[in-house]
Amino acid sequence: MVMAEELNLATSVPYRYSGPPELRAPIEAALRQVVDPEVALTIVDVGLVYAVTVSDKQVHVSMTMTSAACPVADIILADVEAELELVVPTNLSIDVELAWDPPWTADRMSPRAKELMGW
């Protein structure tokens, strides 16, 4: 498996991606399937995804929530896992973890999300 390090600065993806280039688009597409219904935006557009790392054995996603009091975090994490299951090879395990540091800020929102929210 060819490994490649690609930072968000070099791509349109608003999170750090590390792994095979051929999996970058399918993984982003899968992550964009998970929508926060309260704001009608994907978790990628809200900027909740911090990093995706694909190794020989695992797809690791680090993401956050806008609030530490969010009771639907488990549901969103499970949705991320379920969507990834549909696109990544079955020999890779999926690990989705929640990170609170650094905290989410509106700076992480995509230009499209900001436009929809009236920025």
Binding site: A69, D74, L77, E85, L98, A99, W100, G118
Partner: protein, 416 residues
């Protein structure tokens, strides 16, 4: 980077845990039902309740306690416990649910002190949330928990009973305001907006405090603060933007915006009641049903899956109980002030709307089960090599054409 591991819970929970969870949820549902029965009996609805049982009378006497401390306090407590994932956090909803049951059993003193325990634990839980994330909205959640404790202590000590209700409502209003403040972070904030919100909420707490000494002036201040808060929410909340989306997002926004209208009505009714006008029912139920229950109807399709571990499929039918709730509130609160039979009719409509919503949620959960079998099970089946043909197809990586189609989907306008 400091990371908190937070993996999704697996569906294969031990049978005992599933049973306890189901039993607890049924207890919470029982508190809601008995609270509603108490409210209906107060509104003059002739219900066939057992005459030799103590609970119907207790449900009438403890209607507000059952609805706010027993039901809503328990649901919010579960919600927060699910968020922080700490075992001690379950102490708050367990104590508040037991408080509701004690009230129904004719033990109001035990009920009141159990509610004090629930609020105390809930404060500790919210302190953990503030520790995780020091932000204005988490501090407001903590303030809401403190308001609940004040109301519960006043109830337990039987001191200044008139002020209990404003403090209980302050708990719910602060909790909702905190959640809305958090969502406004996604919008460009106008200068002074947070300060204006804090001004509304401090005024509300001043009104609740003053209510014990002077129900007239306390009620006026409390009512004015609620109306100002409704104006703030109308202007600054994201619902004004998400209402142009589709599906569940639009439904949630409509619930929010309707709720804000009723919050403004509630504020005016608190002022009018303080002036001696016959709008007490509007003061209590424009707030409790129009504002707070509307929030609950809006968020239940998102929150319930997190609490009960079931998914729901959203559809147009969610609007039926919502329309019924608000239409029956118009009948109850606009016509009921001068015609008791209209108040009774409106209250029946309110109860029917909540029952219909419960049915809607049940149907939506069943519909989701039929339409979306668990993806996790699909993968596990595939890994185990015993998959059916259909599941194997779902496990393979999608073709470039499929992925292109997915990436091109406008997720902002699609509900799964």
């Amino acid at each position: 980077m400091q990371v908190v591991m937070h993996k999704p819970s697996h569906p294969g929970a031990p049978l005992l845990v599933v049973g306890l969870r189901a039993g607890f949820l049924m207890g919470v549902a029982a508190l809601l039902v008995t609270g509603i029965v108490g409210g209906l009996l107060r509104a003059g609805v002739a219900l066939p309740v057992p005459g030799d049982s103590i609970w119907p009378g207790q449900a009438v006497l403890g209607h507000a306690f059952l609805m706010i401390c027993g039901f809503m306090g328990t649901v919010i407590g579960i919600e927060r416990a699910v968020a922080v994932k700490l075992r001690f956090a379950l102490g708050a909803p367990v104590a508040s649910a037991l408080a509701g049951l004690a009230m129904l059993a004719g033990e109001p003193s035990a009920a009141a002190w159990l509610a004090v325990v629930a609020a105390t634990v809930f404060i500790a839980v919210n302190a953990v949330v503030v520790e995780h994330q020091r932000a204005p909205h988490t501090v407001l959640l903590l303030a809401g928990a403190a308001a609940w404790l004040v109301g519960n202590l006043l109830q337990a000590l039987d001191s200044q009973p008139a002020a209990v209700i404003p403090w209980w409502f302050s708990f719910l209003v602060l909790t909702i305001a905190a959640e809305r403040l958090e969502m406004t972070r996604l919008m460009r904030r106008r200068r002074g907006a947070p300060i204006a919100l804090y001004g509304c909420l401090v005024t509300m707490l001043l009104g609740a405090t003053a209510f014990a000494m002077s129900p007239v002036w306390g009620g006026v201040v409390y009512g004015v603060s609620l109306t100002l808060l409704a104006g703030w929410l109308m202007v600054f909340d994201i619902a004004r933007r998400t209402v142009v989306a589709t599906g569940l997002s639009r439904y949630m926004a409509i619930c929010l915006l309707l709720g804000y209208c009723w919050l403004a009505v509630a504020g005016a009714a608190w002022v009018a009641t303080s002036a001696g006008l016959p709008f007490r029912d509007a003061a209590l139920h424009a707030l409790g049903l129009g504002f707070i229950f509307s929030m609950m109807l809006g968020h239940a399709p998102v929150i319930l899956p997190a609490l009960a571990r079931v998914k729901v499929r959203f559809g147009w039918f969610f609007y039926v109980p919502l329309i019924l709730l608000h239409a029956s509130l118009v009948v109850r609160l606009c016509l009921g002030a001068h015609a008791f039979d209209m108040l009774t009719l409106g209250a029946e409509g309110n109860a029917l709307a909540i029952a219909l919503f419960a049915l809607t949620m049940t149907g939506a959960a069943l519909a989701s089960r039929v339409r979306h079998p668990s993806a996790r099970h699909r993968r596990m089946d595939c890994v185990g090599g015993h998959q059916q043909e259909s599941t194997r197809l779902l496990c393979r990586p999608r073709s470039p054409a499929e992925l292109k189609a997915i990436a091109g989907t406008d997720a902002a306008t699609e509900q799964k």
